[in-house]
């Protein structure tokens, strides 16, 4: 690939990020209400019916300035690496994000990995045996799972596996109070991860399955596959090295695109399982109209999704020789 087109590609990613950062700034402010209202709500004990105090607070957080000025300050802060301070907790946003990010990466990463693996394998088998009972059964199963609401599935899983069977813990990402060895800690984290990751993966797997299956079906009639058959190659080689290898290409793009949905899904799942990730932080911050934290959460997800897409772009080039040169 030529240097010029690399530059163009990088510029387009930068432009995307800038556009999203701008959206991230303005969207929370388009919601009704503001952080001071939320902070000093009538129902809270801190309720102060004093306009001066309100004005002081607004001035303290810079909310009294016009939107363009606030936007300029936000951008200037971003350039310095300063994400601001939470209005709700008064802690720096970056600290809150750093504390939450690993959990979300763990949750979304493992769910995506599981979903991709399951979806791909099921898709390859179903597509290869198109219109046979295996295919019909899997199709019905995955379509059903995909339409099942995540929060309902999560609650159901909690009820059955945590409450009734007591196989997995109810909430959180780890046991804070137990004193455990390193292996014990890993085990503990994994135990906490199983249910939320599985619930998140169920919704994602269906997408992978459908794309992989469709890809396989369209490769079934390809001439090179007929050639492979004429060459007397074993079925498994035709299935994996020929058909699946070619059908995989769109799945790579899909996985990256689906990551956005995975993060969205994580908000619901983290809420249901009280998992201490970015999703739950975002949920709480939206309730409090905590603009700096909302922006921070958006920024992190934006960067993750865009960089994974860029990565998929690179991977695609390696997987499909036709896209280079």
């Amino acid at each position: 690939m030529r240097r010029g087109s690399w530059l163009v590609k990088a510029m387009s990613y930068l432009a995307t990020v800038f556009l999203l950062v701008t959206l991230n700034f303005f969207l929370p402010r388009a919601m009704p209400g503001d952080p001071i209202d939320a902070l000093l709500s009538r129902s809270s004990t801190e309720y102060i019916d004093n306009e001066d105090t309100r004005a002081d607070l607004a001035e303290y957080y810079g909310l009294d300035r016009s939107l363009p000025v606030q936007y300029g300050r936000y951008l200037a802060g971003l350039v310095r690496g300063d994400l601001g301070v939470s209005i709700r907790t008064n802690a720096p946003v970056s600290d809150a994000l750093l504390a939450r990010l690993p959990w979300t990466l763990l949750l979304v990463g493992s769910a995506t990995a599981v979903a991709t693996a399951v979806g791909l394998i099921a898709g390859v088998h179903a597509g290869w045996r198109r219109a046979r009972p295996v295919d019909r059964g899997l199709l019905a199963l995955f379509l059903g799972l995909r339409e099942f609401p995540t929060f309902l599935l999560g609650s159901l899983a909690l009820f059955v596996f945590a409450v009734k069977l007591n196989w997995f813990p109810l909430a959180g990402a780890r046991d804070r109070f137990a004193e455990l060895s390193l292996i014990g800690q890993v085990n503990d984290v994994a135990n906490h991860l199983v249910l939320p990751a599985t619930v998140l993966a169920v919704g994602l797997a269906a997408g992978h399955y459908l794309v992989m299956r469709a890809g396989m079906v369209s490769e079934l009639g390809a001439d090179y596959l007929l050639l492979g058959r004429a060459k007397g190659l074993p079925e498994r080689r035709l299935k994996y090295r020929y058909a699946a290898r070619n059908a995989l290409l769109p799945v790579v793009s899909l996985t990256a695109i689906q990551l956005g949905f995975a993060v969205t899904g994580a908000i619901l799942v983290e809420r249901v399982f009280a998992y201490p990730g970015i999703g739950r932080l975002l949920f709480d911050s939206i309730g409090a109209r905590d603009y700096p934290v909302i922006q921070g959460c958006f920024l992190v997800t934006t960067i993750i999704v865009v960089s994974v897409n860029a990565l998929a772009d690179l991977l695609y080039r390696r997987l499909d020789p036709r896209t280079t040169g």
Binding site: A222, D223, Y224, L226, L227, G228, R229, A230, K231, G232, L233, P234, E235, R237, R241, Y242, R245, N246, L319, D320, P321, R322, G325
Partner: protein, 597 residues
Amino acid sequence: MTPLLEVADLQVCFGGEVEALRGVSFTLEQGESLAVVGESGAGKSTLALCLAGLVQPPEAQGSVRVEGKELLGAAPDLLRALRWSTVALALQGAPFNPVTTVGAQVAEPLRERRGFGGGPARRRATALAEEVLLDPTLLDRYPHELSGGERRRAALAMVLALDPPLVVLDEPTAGLDPTTRNELVGRVRELADQRGFALVVISHDLPDAARLASRSMVLYAGEAMETGATSRVVSEAAHPYSWALVNAYPVMTTTRDLRPIRGRPPDPRAVPSGCPYHPRCTQAEPVCWEEHPALRSSRGRLVACHFGGLKLLLAAEAVTKTYRGRGPGRQDVVSALHGVSLELREGESVGIVGPSGSGKTTLARILTGHLSPDAGRITLEGTPLPTSWRGQARAVRRRIQLVMQDPWDALSPRLTVEELVREPLDVSKGGDGRADHRRSPAEAAVAEALDGVGLPASGPFLSARTHELSGGQLQRVALARALVAEPKVLVADEPTAMLDASEQARLMVVLRERQVEMGLGLVFVSHDVAVVRKVTDRIVVLDAGRVVEEGPSHLVSSTPVSVTTQRLIEAAPAFALEEAVPARAAVPEEDLPDGDL
């Protein structure tokens, strides 16, 4: 000993309605070669797939045996074992797995089937690439990085990987430029000779097929129409379809204009009953749509036609004619024709050339029964040509018509165009020419005949008289008059001699169209070789009443044997403008832009 390949009554029907193959049988021995030719949709590629066992029951019925082993319904393990090592099929368009290098795919059968390691497989692939004249460095490329010709070569290298005794090539040259195509065909032929593999070539390209295979099978609507030695099938096709197919090819070995096949290829969902070619065949009779013809021996090959192939329309055997001087005591004898023989088949066109006084016109008149030969016989459609005009003879003689040199002379100036064209119909019916009127069948026939020669079939033109028309129009009226009686043979004696070049060209186009539509046999008499070679398949050269040379038009007109022909060709018109066209020298090679990418 069992043959290498034995196909018996192979039938393939997709989805219960698309009949791709309808009972094909043939055998192939070690080292033999067979070309399967036909139009698109004839079932050629399906046949190729069947030979590798890639179409199975219930779609495929019948039998395909390779080295005595039945492929139809065979167990997957047996099929895998036979494929590529015994039958290697190169698919149409040379497909490759797009995500793997070409070299890996050439080596793949060696590694997967023969257990070669990476190094030996790679070395073998390199050797194979060299064998098919493919640059071995291209093996590291991906399929999309190769040109069409390189892909075909790579496919060929891949096919030879396991040294199979039977190679099936499906359209090996389609879409290639002539030079690449020529090299590839030559290389395949050499490899077949060196390695001794049997070859089945599927192609819609007749010339390539002819170069690659010693035997040919013409496929139409999933059936074999004609099989036999390629030299016979291509150079003197017997089946009307093969003949039409050969005529539709632009090749350097014919000087005739291209003739399309009339009608359209059949829909494989509704193949015509009887002979599948009958709707497009010019010689079809009721038996053709009532009964299915089997492959039968005819003219040194097998032909699936109720009439053994193209009908023999006109045959002259040893025709001799002598004119004696008139008056008492005058004994000078002029031998106009001496032992002239001639054959003319359905749709065929034979040119009779010769200098003035060579007997051309005498022969034309004898062939049409206007003059009786002193010795010899004229046979028209299997019956002796009568010379009388009575009763049955009149109906027979209607089938052969004469068009003469001078239309002003030949057509009565007293009759209108309509009357001129209509006269043969009225005469053959025995009427007086002015009987029934108002859109009678005769009137419709007149309109059709005029339309067929490109003249107006209505309005004032019908009532025009000969002096109002141009020479070309008049000669076409004469042609319409000849064709209105639906003859099978037309003898045209210098029909274009009095026309200008444009009208001559138009008349020849009309003649070609009528031949395609009616399967008309044409005897074209002329002293002008330049004209004759454009409208005829064969040329007979007469001099002093004898046949001095005879052969395919392109040979007679390019490499004449007899002195008479050489003189005629020297005299034939050509644009001799040497001084006006100075530079026809070849451009030096290095000045040419690089053609390959």
